[in-house]
């Protein structure tokens, strides 16, 4: 597709379950970001992948969060043992290095 694609668009999960969120970046974009936006809050940086470099994981809020990017393309954000405070919109973006990032529509995660 032409844009950044995220799936699922909505996810409701029970507290304690693991979830996987997927991001398909724009083809050829070397940089990939994950952010989240909790209700009424700004964009919270989670993790950044750039080419083959080690990812910048400094924004991950706890060790329950992990992300990988396979083959320099698709990325998966995994949240283990979800908690209610994990409820947020998770946004993925991709860019050519350092230039404007293009965002997907986000995955709305609700932990009940």
């Amino acid at each position: 597709g032409a844009g950044v694609s995220q799936s699922p668009s909505n996810k409701v999960t029970e507290k304690g379950k693991d979830v996987e969120l997927r991001c398909d970046p724009i083809s050829g974009h070397t940089a990939l970001y994950w952010y989240r936006q909790s209700l009424g809050q700004g964009l919270e940086f989670l993790i950044y992948f750039q080419g083959n470099s080690a990812p910048d994981k400094s924004g991950l809020p706890s060790d329950r969060f992990s992300a990988e990017r396979t083959g320099g393309s698709v990325s998966t954000l995994t949240i283990q043992r979800t908690q209610q405070e994990d409820s947020a919109v998770y946004l993925c973006a991709s860019s050519l290095a350092g230039l404007e990032a293009f965002f997907g529509q986000g995955t709305r995660l609700t932990v009940v």
């Binding site: 952010y35 350092g98 293009f102 529509q105």
Partner: protein, 112 residues
């Protein structure tokens, strides 16, 4: 430590008047700045950018001003329209290839 700050969480403007959104940064290595607009239930969309070699960039109703000595940038929208009502995020990066750091956002409300 917030490297990019938007100190006004919200702004209300009358239709037809000028909207001025402000952003401050602390990292003197930042040399590329962007503004994004976000509607509810959508991902942020790129609006306008400016490189540190310039102090102004204009695109239609949108103008971004950069004051490097003050580490301050602003987005001017004139004339403001009700459809401009959204959350606006500023972002910055240090050199091509580095990640984007976002501010917390300002909610703009343009009243008819």
């Amino acid at each position: 430590d917030q490297q990019v700050k938007q100190n006004s969480p919200s702004l209300s403007v009358q239709e037809g008047r000028i909207s001025i959104l402000n952003c401050d940064y602390t990292n003197s290595m930042f040399d590329y700045f962007l503004w994004y607009k976000k509607y509810p239930a959508e991902g942020p969309t790129f609006l306008i950018s400016i490189s540190s070699i310039k102090d102004k960039n204009e695109d239609g109703r949108f103008t971004v001003f950069l004051n490097k000595s003050a580490k301050h940038l602003s987005l001017h929208i004139v004339p403001s329209q009700p459809g401009d009502s959204a959350v606006y995020f500023c972002a910055a990066s240090a050199h091509a290839g580095n990640m984007l750091t976002f501010g917390g956002g300002t909610r703009l409300m343009v009243k008819p």
